[in-house]
């Protein structure tokens, strides 16, 4: 029972995250349309950070999904560790590129 709730919560959070990551992207594109593309690197990193996080979240979701038989031999802990690593790399690059 605890398992099912936790997975429910997870699914919820994940969809929230994806939704959250998508919203600023749209907002930003609109904003760029208004302001122009001057600090292009900031724009790019802003957009890509959102897209990247969303993509990585999707990847994680695919991997830890119990129904997905492709990843039987990949333990969820490993998947999460990979996810964290990937995110760290992503955000380091974003930080670098933002300024």
């Amino acid at each position: 029972m605890a398992k099912s709730t936790s997975s429910d919560v997870l699914t919820l959070i994940r969809s929230l995250r994806s939704a959250y990551a998508a919203t600023p992207t749209n907002l930003k594109v609109v904003y760029m349309g208004i302001v122009g593309s001057f600090p292009f690197n900031s724009f790019l990193s802003g957009v890509l950070s959102c897209v990247g996080t969303a993509v990585l979240a999707v990847c994680l979701r695919i991997q830890v999904n119990k129904e997905n038989k492709e990843f039987k031999d990949l333990p969820p802990e490993r998947a999460f560790a990979d996810f964290v690593l990937c995110n760290l790399v992503l955000h380091l690059v974003i930080m670098n590129f933002l300024g």
């Binding site: 790019l44 897209v51 990937c86």
Partner: protein, 785 residues
């Protein structure tokens, strides 16, 4: 990696033994790859080769001296005078940083190697890495046996040797390793679906972007493969994990490299990846919905989504097309365009067409560069199709695209070489697999013996092979490679087949059915071995003879022994010691890098051909008569003009042979230079039939000035003819240095006359006392001879 993946209970020891053996073989392949590239150091000396490596060497020196931040901000005022060049922002830093790091590590380990030594040996070291990367890549595709074969082939392939001999310190040297490694990680991710490898993949892609402009090949090939998988209905979530993070992270990382910068999102070369990125999301979403909804609901949903989706897609594509079309070159850079349309460069950009390595290759060059691999590749393709997996389809796609690109530009043969090696490795390995398997079965039938016998037969086999090949070391490695392969490869293939949902038992049955007669297999094995040894012989010959000449020192063999032509270094040393630090030297752009690196003098143009107008200016000066050439050079503050002349010793790639390109490039910007003026009836000639424009242009005069004094006839050994105009004087230039074999000639611009003469005509009755005036004119001209 080498350790077997899942040992079967019976064969643990054998597998462990195989693993260790495989490891040693890999090590030997690395040593082989490294050592076969040392011919140039042994035969000549430890020098940097050719043109571009000199620039890389100079950049590396700067890096090691001033540190990475200075390097990043380096504004070089010694090239492209007076424009200068922002080196930090226009150079692919991968190679330089790699060598710089190696040097730094060695030095901090108290191994005091000079920067030059490190640079010279960077390429061989990385070719060993590349061989290992090939092994891993092929292992992912077809198993360890194929991996080892492919690695051996790659270690030896002449096409790659040509770019990575010791001293050839060029971007390609590390880029090929990065390319193969990126592909390996992509396939690894595809096979495992692990985000970890996806991250590594992105980082390795970053390294590739740092190293070479050829990274666009990756960023187009991988989307093509992803698209191919989607279209053929092989979409899986592993594909998503392999592809989507790579695009996001890879794009971000690529944008970090200064020379790429915003090009990573702005140019058409990268749009394919974004398009496929969108498509893969759509497809992923569709699959996701499919999983959630019932089939009926799914149908309804799909019609709904399709209508909306298509509308959105059309809008997006329209915007993209509008954006791209608004830029003049349609967003493509010149070199990429000439890849897509092979006639583009020759039509519009003579500067790209003028480089010999941008020409389409000829058939012999295919045979020269990849040798027997060309025949093995089709077999490899068939082997890849037998059980078609994502990985093997990727390799096939890689091969097909690289064959096309190598057909356009001879330089891209280098990209083809790994693909050819991988596929030939697979083919060879499969062939040996089948043949030895059938030999084994036949022997088992024949002897009714236990399984352990097969080991003996193999040993016999290998000794027999050794006899044939006279125990050549490389060949022995080759043989060993071929020997070990069958045991582990089976397992790996089985795993592969598991993925592609085939029963593992089936392969055993197949093997039995495929058993060939003993004699036939034995003969086939011997033939294959002979083929392999032919390849090895060819490769060694190519490494030793064809590709190890540094082109800065030349040798020639004649009846009276070996001649060494060290004229280039002689000339550069003369410049370094006899001219002022701030003097500007003009030459055709080929020699720009060498002049800055070896003579440390400012040049007008160099091999980084970023400013066509500037090069055209120099081309125009070279094709103009003396006076206007002097004016052009003087306006650029040029003090010395350097020409390369091969007529005396028969060095064919001299400036006279390149001259038509100077005319073309100059004429492309300054229309008063017309190519037909230099051609007699469409023929380029420098003999008595040559046009007056040709005989009066600066390049002719500087090349052939005083040439007639050498043999009295002025016979040019490159053009195999006597020159057209033999006795002439220079009015605006003076010869200051000519190297021993006349290969490099350096002229100085005369300063403007201190006085201006009156009427040019001499009083008719003054011939007697005026001898002094004439002496004034002629003795000053050659103070050197």
């Amino acid at each position: 990696m080498v350790a077997p993946v899942e040992p079967k209970p019976g064969g643990t020891l054998r597998n462990a033994f195989g693993g260790v053996l495989g490891f040693f073989i890999l090590l030997l392949i690395g040593v082989l790859a490294f050592s076969i590239r040392l011919f140039s150091v042994i035969k000549y000396e430890s020098v940097i080769h050719e043109f571009d490596p000199y620039f890389n060497y100079r950049v590396t020196q700067f890096l090691t001296k001033n540190g990475i931040y200075e390097f990043w901000n380096w504004f070089d005022d010694r090239t492209w005078y007076p424009l200068g060049r922002v080196i930090g922002g226009t150079v692919y830093p991968g190679l330089t940083l790699t060598a710089g790091t190696m040097w730094w590590i060695l030095n901090s380990l108290n191994i005091p190697l000079s920067v030059e030594t490190v640079c010279v040996f960077t390429a061989p070291v990385f070719s060993a890495f590349a061989a290992w990367a090939t092994y891993f890549l092929t292992k992912e595709v077809k198993g360890i046996g194929s991996g080892l074969t492919a690695a051996t082939l790659l270690a030896l392939v002449p096409s790659y040797i040509s770019r990575s001999v010791a001293g050839s310190y060029d971007n390609e040297a590390v880029a090929i390793f990065a390319l193969i490694f990126t592909f390996f990680l992509y396939i690894k991710t595809l096979n495992t679906g692990s985000l970890f490898y996806a991250t590594l993949n992105a980082l390795s892609y970053f390294y590739m972007v740092c190293s070479w402009g050829g990274y666009t090949f990756i960023i187009n090939l991988i989307p093509m493969h992803a698209l191919l998988c989607i279209v053929t209905g092989r979409y899986s979530s592993r594909l998503y994990i392999a592809y989507a993070p790579l695009v996001v992270l890879g794009t971000l990382l690529a944008a970090l490299v200064p020379v790429v910068g915003f090009n990573a999102v702005m140019t058409s070369e990268h749009f394919a990846s974004f398009l496929v990125f969108i498509i893969i999301h759509v497809v992923a979403f569709v699959y996701f919905i499919k999983g959630i909804l019932s089939p009926k609901m799914f149908k309804v949903a799909i019609t709904l989504v399709l209508t909306v989706g298509i509308a959105v897609c059309i809008a997006v594509i329209a915007i993209l097309v509008a954006l791209v079309a608004s830029s003049p070159t349609k967003g493509w850079s010149g070199r990429s365009l000439s890849l897509l349309d092979p006639t583009y460069a020759s039509k519009y950009i003579p500067i790209i067409a003028s480089v010999s390595e941008h020409q389409p290759p000829t058939w012999p060059s295919y045979f020269m560069d990849i040798n027997i691999l060309a025949f093995l590749v089709p077999a490899g393709i068939i082997a890849c199709f037998l059980p078609l997996s994502d990985a093997s389809s990727f390799v096939v796609l890689y091969l097909v695209t690289s064959v096309y690109f190598s057909g356009v530009m001879v330089r891209l043969m280098l990209v083809l070489a790994p693909a050819a090696c991988i596929l030939s490795g697979i083919a060879l390995s499969e062939a040996f697999d089948v043949l030895t398997q059938s030999v084994k079965l036949q022997l088992v039938k024949l002897l009714e013996g236990p399984l352990s016998n097969s080991g003996d037969t193999k040993d016999e086999n290998s000794t027999a092979q050794n006899d044939v090949l006279k125990a050549d070391k490389q060949v022995a490695t080759n043989n060993k490679t071929e020997d070990v392969k069958e045991r582990p490869s089976k397992k790996n293939r089985k795993k592969d087949k598991e993925n592609t949902e085939k029963a593992p038992v089936k392969s055993h049955n197949e093997k039995r059915l495929l058993a060939l007669p003993l004699e036939a297999s034995a003969i086939a094995i011997i033939l294959l071995v002979v083929l392999g040894s032919l390849y090895v012989i060819h490769c060694v010959w190519a490494a030793a003879e064809a590709y190890s000449a540094p082109s800065i020192v030349l040798t020639s063999r004649s009846h009276d022994g070996l001649h060494v032509f060290d004229d280039f270094r002689e000339a550069y040393a003369w410049l370094r010691h006899n001219t002022e630090v701030d003097d500007k030297v003009a030459s055709w752009w080929d020699y720009g890098y060498q002049t800055t690196a070896m003579a440390n003098r400012t040049v007008i143009v160099d091999n980084n051909t970023w400013n066509n107008t500037h090069i055209a200016t120099v081309g125009t000066a070279m094709s103009s008569p003396e006076k206007s050439a002097w004016e052009i050079f003087n306006s650029l503050d040029v003090k010395y003009v350097l020409v390369v002349f091969g007529g005396l010793v028969g060095y064919p790639s001299d400036d006279i042979n390149k001259f038509l390109w100077m005319v073309r490039i100059g004429g492309g910007v300054f229309p008063h230079i017309k190519e037909p003026d230099y051609l007699r009836d469409g023929q380029y000639r420098i003999d008595a039939q040559a046009t007056p424009t040709m005989l009066n242009c600066l390049m002719y005069k500087l090349s052939y000035y005083r040439f007639v004094e050498t043999d009295g006839k002025g016979f040019d050994r490159v053009r195999r003819t006597e020159i057209g105009k033999k006795h002439f004087k220079l009015s605006h230039f003076e010869e200051v240095f000519t190297t021993h074999h006349w290969m490099v000639r350096i002229y100085k611009l005369k300063p403007p006359k201190n006085r201006m003469k009156g009427k040019t005509k001499k009083p008719k009755h003054t011939s007697k006392p005026l001898s002094g005036a004439r002496r004034d004119g002629s003795t000053k001209k050659n103070p050197w001879q």
